[in-house]
Symmetry: C2
Subunit: 427 residues, 2 copies
């Protein structure tokens, strides 16, 4: 039975209890959220080596890190090192987006190495498989697509991105309106081309029940992908994107009816004033399902710094109700991220998520900031470092101060405002 | 005559014309903004070697970088190198906050080296002077404070932070309400202690007309400082902070009546949901004066990454109407920023400012993003790099891609969505 099925029967599962403890809420709060669909408890029923992860309304905003090989660059050791960095830097989940090398073996190694929930995009594996066997992606069969999904379930993958909303209807609206950058989601692009070449509906939509059966068997959470997300600010919130979201809302309800847990993926490249509207729209169209956003990126002109751009967008999205932030690294739009990039991306997203959690009133979030202020007032440098989002980084910088660990730092020296405020005698 | 005086007489000055050209607005737009106080044209009338800088309503959001020696660390060459980095990284103004070494000589060297507007906090020089002459800061005289301001005017400083709103009334409200971190502005802290020790009103408030006379003589823009800004989220938007802002609103009107241009400084450490309220409050209480914010920082727990935190807050503040963002570097709260920190801080603030400019509908802002999308659709890598916020950085990362400068990058390889969308033949 899936978590959703048990929640519907009023049963509080062991997984819900574990999540409740981590989140500081009651198990019943988690159960009710799962039942109504505002919370997902993420863990493949074969992946019992990790703690389950709850994502959704009333919970801490979570951060996902993407990693994986590309077709030009395959280095399993580096990817496994990225998994370790994800843990150390404080990601809540990771997605293996590998498209190069022995994809299934890489996936199994990553699932095995990860202490956190693992997501994938099964169509990548199916497409890469097609390319590896020297046939065209266009010649993939529906069976091969579902086979890839099944294998992900077998391998213990906890959540999968499936671009079920890329349909003739939604793609047609993209074409009718016109776009500067067309379809920029890889899965969306593969699917749309497949549909065009084969003159057929998207199998993941046409045979959605088949997908639900697989997801249900492993209690894999469906992350209904936004294959038609905008690739630039100018394309944001267009009719194709919103059409897809409407369809995802319908598919969300169908999944719940089959006891399959669902979250919804969102953009992407979005002008700042449209971010809150995108969250409100998703919450309404998808009946409160958890929202998993990529960034969002409120400008296109900062390649090399897209982790900062994504943090700016992610804080606003999170404060408006997004539940799960997918990180973006400084290498986005330029090259495959290296180890440092993964670290920088995670920390930037965690900052955004924490700012959102304070805005959401998530219990315990503001308390951290109050404690930091207290440590600052006491010149408790060790306390500040331990509480900081990246203790190694803050410690290294503090040690640049000649006066580190005394009162004050080189920034203000003996004109430190806090010191001035404390002295009783004239200074 | 000051810019404001001439604007009031309906005269469009050469400075206004230069600013109008840079901003893409009409000279009359600038003149009217200066007259009504929503725009300041920043340039000391002795500092004719630089282009004047317009800040305010309807104009591009500007970025300031702080630099300067501290009492523990004096290295003029490094500070001058920071000035060069400010130019290269695209700051609009810089503030010399030196408190160590030969402060006046350092200031003159920085004004001389800078191609952009220079601001200072004259009370730092006065306080450091007092410490250097081995007397207590508390024994500074009002004359010495005004002398420091006069010298800044003589040296060609374009705008000065003056903490005139730190008064018995506002400080009294801080004390009455209580704060976790007290007063964290150095200037505010020095002033409050001076007032307490001398049992006297703040000379910059009590003798405000004397300050206005000096500012008027050099057409120095007064940046009315928020000496009582909160030092942590928990202290934000408290009665002392708002009391000071009310007083600054009154002083703003008095300055305008004497033809002295004014902008207002704002926080600081502010929870995300209070940022827009802080902007609205300032615009209302200070009758539309340009707002110059420090960050804001919507969390306290990210030392080492405060440039990202400030970019998150700055984008929201800018979108809500803040006109001028003071950068924060990754070393904030830990140590004196080094050269890299200055660069990182400026770029992060520029990203926030640009995102705000798109939100504000500033002409030409969104057009950059549209052009970037066009370059991406064309795989025009050189165009993308040249248009990016930091071409050196984006170029260096792109060159990590094995397939750099061909179509696609290592991130997606031959599964690039844009390439897939372009191919006519099956892939």
């Amino acid at each position: 039975m899936t978590q959703l099925e048990m929640a519907g029967q009023g049963r509080v599962t062991e997984e819900m209890k574990l999540c409740a403890e981590k989140e500081g809420v009651s198990p019943e709060f988690i159960r009710r959220g799962v039942e109504e669909g505002s919370i997902v408890v993420v863990r493949n029923n074969r992946h019992t080596g990790i703690a389950p992860l709850a994502i959704g309304k009333g919970l801490r905003t979570k951060v996902n890190a993407n990693l994986g090989t590309s077709r030009d660059h395959v280095d399993l050791e580096m990817e496994l090192e990225k998994v370790r960095i994800c843990t150390k830097a404080g990601a809540d989940a990771l997605m293996d987006l590998s498209t190069g090398g022995e994809i299934r073996a890489i996936r199994q190694a990553i699932v095995n190495a990860s202490t956190m929930a693992v997501g994938t995009v099964p169509i990548y594996a199916a497409a890469a498989e097609a390319l590896n066997s020297r046939k065209s992606i266009m010649e993939m069969t529906a069976d091969e697509m579902f086979q890839a999904i099944e294998e992900n379930g077998e391998d213990g993958v906890d959540f999968i991105t499936v671009h079920c909303g890329v349909t003739r209807e939604s793609v047609g609206r993209i074409a009718a309106q016109g776009r500067l950058l067309g379809i920029v989601s890889r899965g969306g692009s593969i699917t749309a081309r497949w549909m065009d070449y084969n003159d057929a509906e998207n199998p993941l939509y046409a045979q959605y029940d088949r997908l639900l059966e697989i997801a249900r068997r492993y209690d894999m959470v469906l992350s209904l992908g936004d294959g038609l997300r905008p690739g630039c600010l100018a394309d944001a919130t267009d009719r194709g994107q919103v059409q897809e979201l409407i369809i995802l809302g319908e598919l969300c309800r169908r999944a719940r009816a089959r006891d399959v847990q669902v979250m919804i993926e969102g953009p992407g490249h979005v002008p700042y004033p449209q971010i809150e509207a995108n969250i409100a729209l998703q919450k309404s169209l998808c009946e409160g399902a958890p929202f998993y956003v990529l960034g969002p990126l409120p400008t296109d002109i900062a390649p090399g710094y897209d982790h900062i751009t994504a943090a700016i967008g992610g804080a606003l999205a999170g404060a408006a109700g997004a539940d799960f932030l997918c990180y973006v690294t400084p290498s986005e739009h330029l090259c495959l991220p290296n180890l440092d990039d993964v670290h920088e991306g995670i920390v930037a997203s965690r900052i955004a998520a924490h700012i959102a959690d304070i805005a959401k009133g998530y219990p315990g979030a503001m308390e951290k900031d109050i404690l930091m202020a207290k440590y600052r007032s006491e010149f408790n440098w060790n306390g500040q470092i331990d509480l900081s989002v990246d203790p190694d980084r803050s410690r290294a910088r503090l040690e640049r101060s000649e006066t580190a660990k005394e009162e004050g730092c080189t920034m203000c020296g003996d004109l430190c405002a806090i010191k001035l405020g404390k002295k009783k005698a004239p200074c």
